[in-house]
């Protein structure tokens, strides 16, 4: 067992205080390398809490909270932080989840219908493309909104939606990349089935959530900052007029 002790006690390279903070893909990879066990635990919990279906939105927000802490390089107390976020955002996230589920259903269905019609008549290609774009936009807004919810920022519903829209429009590429990464994970599961049978059990849920939150994180920060800026400007104008 000496080798095990040696392996565990082996001195590391050290962490420089002035080490430049990783950004972009490097940060994403470093999070995965740093927190594999936490991500695995998160995946199992997400998997379990997706089974009752109604808990999916709160589950996503709580998982988003954990992922947000990982992105911020903050200490994660997995069990405590997860359930705290779950409890705090259960109602709001469920309502928003239902709202986006309906909206995505409508957009997706219209895209499907126009797509089918477009196969027979070119006139319907343009509405099909518009429907696909709308579906994607709604998906992006949903990801941003859930990310903002996971940041434990208390905003009125309309302001929340406005900031999510602003975030989605301000930095669409990373958000789309996050969604694409999550979609690819599920695609890989489908394509390589049954070899990939354990993929959802091990990482699909948590890694997918991490990718989406990671993609939307800066965009939502930007939107919230803009919101604060507008709010403070309005406040200043009001106090000046008084």
């Amino acid at each position: 067992m000496q080798w095990l002790t040696n392996w565990m006690m082996k001195e590391g390279p050290g962490v420089r205080k002035d080490e430049p903070k990783k950004t972009g893909l490097a940060l994403f990879v470093s999070i995965i390398l740093r927190e594999p066990w936490e991500l695995f635990k998160l995946n199992l919990l997400m998997l379990l809490l997706c089974i009752p279906v109604i808990t999916i939105p709160a589950n996503l927000v709580a998982a988003g909270r954990i992922c947000g802490l990982m992105i911020e390089d903050e200490v994660v107390f997995f069990w405590r932080d997860y359930w705290r976020a779950f409890g705090q955002r259960a109602v709001a996230s469920t309502l928003w989840g239902l709202f986006f589920a309906v909206l995505l259903g409508i957009c997706g269905y219209s895209a499907f219908i126009y797509g089918q019609l477009g196969l027979h008549d070119m006139v319907y290609v343009a509405p099909a493309v518009i429907a696909i774009c709308l579906t994607l936009l709604v998906l992006m807004v949903a990801v941003c909104l859930f990310t903002i919810l996971s940041k434990q920022v208390c905003l009125p519903a309309l302001v929340l939606l406005k900031s999510a829209c602003l975030a989605a429009l301000a930095k669409p590429i990373p958000i789309l990349a996050g969604i694409a990464f999550a979609a690819l994970l599920w695609l890989a599961h489908v394509i390589f089935y049954p070899a990939s049978i354990f993929l959802p059990v091990v990482l699909n849920f948590s890694l997918g959530t991490l990718a989406m939150v990671f993609g939307a994180y800066k965009a939502t920060d930007f939107a919230l900052q803009m919101l604060e800026l507008v709010g403070s400007r309005q406040g200043a104008e009001e106090s000046a007029s008084i």
Binding site: E11, G14, K17
Partner: protein
Amino acid sequence: MSGISLKKLNKTYGHLTVVHDIDLEIADKEFIILVGPSGCGKSTTLRMIAGLEEISSGELYIGDDLVNDIPSKDRDIAMVFQNYALYPHMTVYKNMAFGLQLRKAPEDEIDAKVRETAKILDIEHLLNRKPKALSGGQRQRVALGRAMVRNPEVFLLDEPLSNLDAKLRGSMRSAITKLHRQLDSTFIYVTHDQVEAMTMADRIVVMKDGYIHQVDTPQVLYDRPINMFVAGFIGAPQMNMLDVTIEKQGEAYIGKFHDTDFPLMLGEKAARLDPYVGKSVVLGLRPESFHETMPHDVDPAKTCSFSALVELAEPMGAEIHLNLVAHGANLIARVSPRCEAEDGEMVTLYCDLANPHLFDKETEKSILF
């Protein structure tokens, strides 16, 4: 109050006694260092104080409480181990918070204490890292931090710097000393490195073979060692020991070493040499007692010239260590960097005998102190 009293403390394993009747009073807020060669019982003594080893006999008091049978967790002490003993699967934050969580401290309090301690130790940037990523020095600070967050009355440190490289050890030495001043707690520190002991301690306990040989401040141990072991152990390079024969010339005493007469001007203590006239004793000379020129600030009557062969000259930058051989005796002299002595050359050095150390050859005890 967190003074500690060890009264006739013993530790035996079967028939083997590793700590013999130790009596020691450690004052509140004192920084005391147990020093001695490997196997001298210093770590066992520390572990008995910590409650990690059962006390075979004797009494241990922390403050006014007899704690022989009190479990380790209830003694209000924190220990830092040589290998740091950090939990490898926990981040630095969780490692530091773990003890407080076990005590069911409020979450906010834990967070505040961990972050405050991390700030003191300059490890804020490490809080979300696992020990695997940390260097030895960083791990060492985390181990200290884990002890500090509990705000214990007594800190026990078991060779905490022995796994670090020389440079880091130097900087951590001063960091721990500053920490002691800042925290105002009692520190009991075990080391086999006498440099650590000399630079950090308020008092040093010199141990050998399970016995305490001397307890005193670093300077007193250096200036007035009570036996040959303490004299040899404290000081680097160590004290030179020469077998000399005591002779009395009129009222003056000299230590005769072959053709060299070492004048022993001992003042009031001279009478202590009477029983040794005509006998062989050990003369202890610190390496800095040798000078390449006649020292100006020393009474000429208390010096003598001394010839020896330079076996090896070791330039240290600020000084040169001359490894000398004189009539079969090996000596080390610490001389100024201007000394031009070379290997294989005969040199004449001046020996300052203002503070000689004389030891009884049989008992190895100091004749003068």
